[in-house]
């Protein structure tokens, strides 16, 4: 190893040693690790991937082949299912409460647990029984939902107005609302709004939206943020404990230099506490208020087929003809006046000659 290598190593070690490990990091880590289990399918996949990364832990070729074949089969089944379930019938099946499709990711992860008891047995056999988790607590879910509706032609504005009131009726509020004019350019033809609704009222709000038109698409999902909250709580406890200790140190400080140094640390810890509190509040708001996105589109294609549509079209045509007549007459009036004036002049001229 030459001098450059030695210098790089020296610098890295010096830099590393100058960095103090945050106080309480080990306790926080143990607290979170021992109190949480992987809940989402992503965490489970990651745990399996990390386990495969153990020395000698790579999956054997036959196992990999089986896993690959299983994955291909799942993809094929998913594709067939998507093809079979697409089409107009989907609108009617979406209206039932059974198809809150992402509701929730936790349900699907529970299903995969039941189907893979071998993994659980294998995981517990390595180091003896893994310590049983504490009493199960309800997960904290941040829910989101999307719904897309087609509204009968001519009724969009009323439906849109009502859509903007649904969130308020259920204790929520609209955060964003935008509209676009129709293809004809003469009125509003589509709109999208985003609202925050108390999570407990999300299903009721979605029901109100469904009554505004024909459901084209609906989905919802929940993200488990329990781990984030536990982690933020642990960090807050540690930071507050550190703040209390610093206050005690401040009481015993002897010199101005000590006071200034402790003051600087206190400011830093206080900033950290406020940041963590804000983060925790943000997560709690996400849990308390679900995010709902609703899109409404006027169904102009359906207008031609119905009686109401035919009547609307007839009125439109009659209006157009009337407007045309008024324009034509308006254009003819000056000409008529001119003609009348000319005729009057000619008659006067003839009478004088006679």
């Amino acid at each position: 190893m030459n001098e450059i290598d030695l210098e790089i190593r020296r610098v890295l070690e010096t830099e590393a040693e100058s960095v103090e490990v945050p106080e309480g990091l080990a306790d926080r880590t143990l607290s979170v690790a021992l109190s949480s289990e992987p809940h989402t399918w992503r965490e489970r996949v990651r745990a399996r991937r990390d386990a495969r990364d153990l020395p000698g832990g790579r999956a054997s070729l036959p196992a990999m082949a089986v896993a690959g074949a299983a994955a291909l089969l799942l993809v094929a089944l998913f594709a067939v299912g998507s093809i079979l379930s697409s089409g107009p019938e989907q609108a009617s099946t979406l209206s039932g409460p059974s198809l809150l499709s992402g509701e929730t990711r936790r349900e699907s992860s529970t299903t995969s647990d039941a189907q893979a008891p071998d993994d659980l047995a294998e995981e517990s056999s390595g180091l003896g029984a893994v310590a049983a988790p504490g009493p199960p607590t309800a997960p904290e879910l941040a829910r989101t939902a999307e719904i897309e509706l087609k509204v009968t032609d001519g009724r969009f504005e009323r439906a849109w107005s009502e859509a903007n009131e649904i969130a308020g009726r259920h204790g929520g509020f609209v955060t964003e609302s935008r509209t676009e004019t129709s293809a004809a350019g003469d009125r509003i033809g589509s709109g999208t709004l985003t609202a925050r609704v108390p999570t407990d009222n999300l299903d009721a709000a979605l029901g109100d939206f469904r009554s505004l038109g024909t459901v084209v698409r609906q989905s919802s999902s929940g993200t488990d943020v329990s781990g984030q909250i536990v982690d933020l709580d642990a960090r807050l406890r540690s930071a507050r404990s550190q703040e209390a200790q610093l206050h005690e140190l401040m009481e015993r400080a002897q010199t101005v230099a000590d006071v200034l140094r402790i003051r600087e640390s206190l400011d830093s810890v206080r900033t950290e506490i406020e940041r963590l509190e804000a983060s925790k509040q943000g997560v709690e708001v996400r849990v308390a208020y679900a995010t709902l996105t609703a899109s409404l589109v006027e169904d102009t294609a359906a207008a031609a087929g119905g009686l109401a549509g035919a009547l609307d079209t007839a009125i439109d045509v009659a209006t157009t003809i009337l407007r045309g007549l008024v324009v034509t007459l308006g254009a003819l009036v000056p000409l008529a006046l001119l003609g009348l004036a000319g005729w009057a002049v000619l008659r006067l001229y003839r009478r004088r000659r006679a």
Binding site: N2, I4, R9, T29, D53, E122, V130
Partner: protein, 173 residues
């Protein structure tokens, strides 16, 4: 929370033994104390979740360092995605100004190491701070050992070409 079972005590030993090293290595890679702390936590949480498949004699340190490297690389990728998105929106801003990083007594070599791109700095930290062999670094980064060797060479060239390094190391490459 005090660990009860032998397995929990084992986790506690892992944390006490390896977490300081993991934290410092993550800091050297990410240059951000908060993210280094996240990596230091995430590493052991993930290790704990995958620990059921451990066998006696398995080498723990390298495995933990691989998890830590993966967690650090995920954060680097997140940063890059965020920067690209902010650049597209026209609101890219400088990296957060961590007052802890503005020490004035850092060496020129340390500053030069900071200037290395992530692609080169990560293998440098794994090689020179964690003392991982090339094969382990390759496995952690998901590339071939030849690629690791090439990046380490490029990093040393970049540092050797830096005037401050050349002055410190007597100008040898």
């Amino acid at each position: 929370m005090q660990p009860d079972s032998p397995t929990e005590q084992l986790l506690q030993r892992w944390v006490e033994t390896y977490q300081p090293v993991v934290y410092r290595a993550a800091y050297l890679i990410l240059r951000d104390r908060e993210e280094a702390e996240d990596v230091a936590q995430e590493t052991f949480i993930r290790a704990w979740r995958a620990a059921g498949r451990l066998r006696p004699g398995d080498e723990i340190a390298g495995w933990l360092y691989r998890i830590a490297t993966n967690a650090s690389l995920n954060r680097i990728r997140s940063r890059q995605r965020e920067l690209r998105a902010l650049t597209r929106l026209g609101s890219a801003r400088a990296a957060p100004d961590d007052p802890f990083e503005r020490r004035t007594d850092r060496s020129a070599v340390a500053e030069a190491l900071d200037r290395l791109p992530d692609r080169l700095r990560v293998p440098v930290v794994l090689r020179y701070y964690l003392d991982l062999p090339l094969e382990e670094i390759a496995r952690a980064l998901g590339v071939r050992p030849g690629t690791v060797k090439s990046r380490l060479y490029d990093a040393r060239q970049a540092l050797a070409g830096d005037e401050s390094i050349a002055a410190v190391a007597g100008g040898s490459a």
